[in-house]
Amino acid sequence: FTEMPTQNFVESCFWNFDSLFQPQQHPARDAHDTFFISEPRVAKDFPMDYLYRVKQIHSEGGHGSQGYKVDWKIEEAEKNILRTHTTANSARMLYRLAQQKEFKPVKYFSIDRVFRNENVDDTHLAEFHQIEGSVADYGLTLGDLMGIIQEFFKKLGITKLRFKPAYNPYTEPSMEIFSYHEGLKKWVEIGNSGIFRPEMLLPMGLPENVSVIAWGLSLERPTMIKYKIDDIRTLIGPKVNLQMVYDNPICILDN
């Protein structure tokens, strides 16, 4: 897997939402879920022919899709926000991949910070870390996605997994990943995954029979479960418990 460049907390709505086929009227684009930027307020320099194709697929459909049948406004897309997921960076990478003359399969990953406009309490933060992995190749299947997720979590010492149908605007099919927690004696959600929609990939220019499978999880939640931490603020931020940092053992996960 190759690490993606993710050194931009500030992202435009275009890459964070529109290129991922998330509709402009989706609740996640509301002010109470996302941090909007007042300075610099808007982004510029979009690849215009790609932007036009994204506009088409949202408003009218195409490539076998019905689309969302709503007017697509560039004013919404150019607004800057603090990224809500590193999937925005995956979109940039996939677009770049599609511009190459010949398609070569790739595997990408990233581990970086994302932002949600939430009230901070003992289980929620406004900023946290997202782990993201994706594979782009010809003929990938849902079975492949489940298989690679299983191997990934095996490396983290998690072996009992179940998959549940879910909904993401940019993946179809989508699956939530659950693992069995021996201590809590129940299935807890540990991640989300799916196959990117054709409405996202085809306007970029990727060949039709290329599928991109992807999965993601947060870093904080599994850490809290593993180390039995109740308050997320003792793990990250100024209220970190320094004694915990001093005393922490080395971490070997795949025992």
Binding site: P40, V70, I236, G237
Partner: protein, 743 residues
């Protein structure tokens, strides 16, 4: 050579408790070339006659229904499926009923065993296992959904779901379903049920008998109990999804809603429909109101895109008019009010009511407000705010007039379709109470609503199999899709495709991949074999991350402890508290912070570390902390106008400031990067400077290869105090990116 004789000796269908109709197959008149299908309704027998086409070998190769469509009959279940789905009146069409009625046939039965032949009584094969589990859902004693509208939750009374626990077809015993079984079912289907926790039960004891089910954001057809129950029952193959159609008015003349031109200024679109002959119970009434609330919250985006109004048709007289008038000209008695008031007075009244005041801004400042009235001038509603008292719906209402006004016509149509389809089951006859209304546009053209469009889609069986990673035949795929409320048939003649009849309740299907997901869900995600992608790639770390990781290990080895701090902070943190002016800081500002801790993105790592020290004052001294992380700054050269830069900051907090300690660390870092301490193009050095954050005379710029990359020094006492610290501090902060270019 299969002779297809399909007959039963008599109408000996096994009686299933609760069924009013039975489906039977009467004697096949093979000889005179027709297959007669009968179904009983009480004692009367209605027969529908189909033509049958025999191929030359005498095998049933196709069946043509009265409308001339050909259907697959290559296996018994597809024959029965075809036959029962064409019968529009049989609403108990489960495979079990149909199977039990049929005594002998030579058609192959299970799609898995296409070659197997049936002997005598048909074994229920695969369906047996499902029948042994959840067998029925009695949806007649439903409880209403919760007040206060959480827009994605549907509440179910636990007692309304029962399970058969006997495998003997002649005897059915029921017990209440357990949460675990229900959770299992919901897990496979893709919704999430929750049991109430102790706090909720303490506040509201009735809630102990309720479960809340969270529905995905794109499934408007599952948002009310009726819809969810129907979805689950179809998934379990207990019922078949009804076909909805709107019928013209009995009198021959449809109700009319005229849209007048002035509405274009404020809310241009409107659609309407009638539910005829509906019977409400207290529970279904609450469910009806609640569905409107939920749709208002999510699909209608808090009434800004669409607003729904429902009225008792018998209290009003058509034709109806949708107009927009100046507020002073609108006067009516609003819902639950005792007097007539003008629109201005109503806006005043509701500005104090938390429930409605959020909707007032949608029309408040417009010159005209939308209003709907009937031919007697009685006001039905003033969308999106409030309906009129006169036409309000009660438990005795028999005919409902539904209107949706909107700024987005497409969403209005979806909203209208959702309401009528969810509640047409309470009409009599069932599902047949959707009556169309003619909506006349300002330019004179008219459209009949609800549209209730169906469309036909086709998917390729082998492509779908390949994309999921399974291998099932077309008939099985068709069955799986039907479970997901997507009526499907596989055409025998074109064996590679499955044809799907998409109803409006499957509005979430916008591309073939949505259909493929439904096949996978019906198959069961957890039944798919897991494989590893064959892709081979070379792995790579992003260079700055690799360098950061290596440096973190070394700095920790030098006796410093790493911290991870927030990227967002207050304006003061990066300016005033450091002795600087926010205008000079070049920070990225947040437009909508919830608290002042999120006003800007950090331009320096120093505040984060100082705050960490202030929250850990009980720790023994010295505190030597560091962080290697991104800061954010405006950059007009970037497309988004800002970029991140990797910086490193180390702080020594002790009884004495310890400048030599941080300088020692800086030297060590440079040593690790093979950068010599020298002026000139290859090395680094420090040069005294003035900086308000640092103590005058104890501050220097760090210069690498002729360019400044950061600062080092003893922190100014004002800074130390502003961050609520008690001891002196020294620190350095440099950008890591120039270090990368060295190696």
């Amino acid at each position: 050579m299969l002779k297809t004789i399909v007959f039963i000796s008599s109408f000996a269908a096994v009686f299933i408790p609760g069924c009013r109709k039975r489906v039977g197959l009467s004697r096949d008149l093979l000889l005179n070339g027709s297959l007669t299908l009968g179904h009983t309704y009480g004692t009367a027998i209605e027969e529908t006659v189909f033509e049958k086409c025999l191929s030359s070998s005498g095998v049933f190769s196709a069946l043509v229904d009265p409308m001339g469509n050909s259907v697959d009959v290559s296996t018994l279940e597809s024959l029965l499926f075809a036959v029962t789905s064409i019968l529009s009146n049989a609403d108990i069409c489960t495979y079990k009923d149909a199977y039990v009625s049929c005594i002998k046939t030579d058609l192959p039965t299970s799609s898995y065993a296409a070659d197997a032949r049936l002997k005598n009584v048909i074994n229920v094969t695969k369906f047996e296992s499902e029948i042994n589990s959840i067998c029925s859902m009695n949806i007649s004693n439903l409880i209403s959904a919760v007040q206060g509208c959480e827009s994605n939750l549907v509440t179910i009374k636990t007692s309304c779901i029962t399970v058969d626990y006997s495998s003997d077809a002649n005897f059915c015993a029921h017990r209440r379903i357990t949460f675990e079984e229900f959770d299992e079912l919901c897990f496979e289907f893709g919704v999430e049920p929750e049991e109430p926790d102790e706090k909720e039960i303490a506040e509201n004891p009735d809630s102990a008998l309720e479960w809340k089910v969270e529905i995905g954001a794109n499934r408007y057809d599952l948002l009310c109990l009726e819809g969810l129950a129907r979805g689950l029952l179809v998934f379990l193959e207990k019922i078949k999804a009804p076909i909805y159609k709107s019928i013209p008015a009995w009198t021959g003349k449809s109700a009319k809603l005229r849209i007048l031109p002035s509405t274009a200024k404020v809310r241009p679109f409107a659609v309407a429909a009638i539910l005829r002959n509906i019977t409400f119970t207290p529970e279904s009434y609450k469910s009806f109101i609640d569905l409107q609330d939920k749709l208002h919250q999510n699909l209608c985006r808090r009434r800004t895109l669409v607003a729904i109004g429902t009225h008792d048709l018998d209290t009003i007289k058509g034709p109806f008019f949708y107009d927009a008038k100046p507020p002073s000209k609108i006067k009516f008695k609003a819902l639950n009010q005792t007097q007539e008031m003008t629109a201005c007075q109503l806006m005043e009244l509701y500005s104090n009511e938390s429930h409605l005041k959020q909707y007032l801004p949608i029309i408040q400042d417009k010159p005209v407000y939308p209003v709907i009235y009937d031919s007697n001038g009685v006001v039905l509603s003033m969308p999106p705010i409030i309906n009129g008292e006169h036409s309000k719906i009660t438990l005795n209402t028999r005919n409902v007039f539904i209107e949706c006004t909107a700024t987005d016509l497409n969403k209005a149509k979806i909203t209208l379709d959702t309401i009528v389809t969810m509640f047409s089951q309470y009409c009599s006859p069932k599902y047949e109470g959707i009556e169309s209304v003619e909506v006349v546009n300002p330019c004179g053209t008219s459209v009949m609503y609800p549209e209730l469009h169906y469309r036909l889609e086709e998917i390729d069986v082998s492509e779908t199999n390949q994309k999921i990673g399974i291998c099932i035949p077309p008939g099985e795929m068709a069955r799986l899709l039907t479970k997901m409320c997507l009526f499907s048939l596989s055409l025998y003649s074109i064996n590679v495709h499955v044809h799907i009849f998409l109803s409006l309740t499957t509005i979430h299907v916008i591309h073939a991949c949505d259909i493929m997901e439904d096949v996978a869900i019906a198959y069961g995600y957890n039944h798919i074999t897991k494989t590893i992608p064959q892709t081979n790639c070379i792995g790579n770390q992003y260079p700055i991350n690799k360098l950061s990781d290596l440096l973190r290990q070394e700095i920790a080895a030098a006796g410093f402890t790493e911290v991870l701090t927030f990227a967002l902070c207050s304006r003061d943190d990066v300016a005033d508290k450091l002795g600087k002016n926010i205008k000079n800081v070049n920070a990225v500002h947040i437009a909508n912070p919830k608290t002042l801790e999120f006003q800007v993105a950090r331009t320096t790592l120093l505040p984060g570390i100082l705050k960490t020290i202030s929250k850990n004052k009980n720790m023994p001294l010295p505190l030597k902390l560091f962080e290697i992380s991104d800061i954010v700054m405006c950059d007009p050269k970037k497309d988004v106008g800002a970029r991140n830069e990797r910086w490193m900051c180390a702080v020594n907090y002790n009884k004495s400031s310890g400048f030599e300690i941080v300088k020692g660390l800086l030297d060590r870092v440079m040593q690790l990067m093979e950068i010599p301490f020298q002026k000139g193009n290859d090395g680094y050095y420090i040069e005294a400077c003035d900086d308000p954050t640092y103590f005058q005379g104890r501050c220097a710029t760090v210069i690498l290869r002729g360019k400044p990359i950061g600062k080092i020094g003893v922190l100014h006492p004002d800074v130390v105090t502003k961050f609520d610290l008690n001891n002196p501090c020294s620190a350095f902060e440099i950008s890591v990116e120039p270090l990368l270019r060295s190696s």
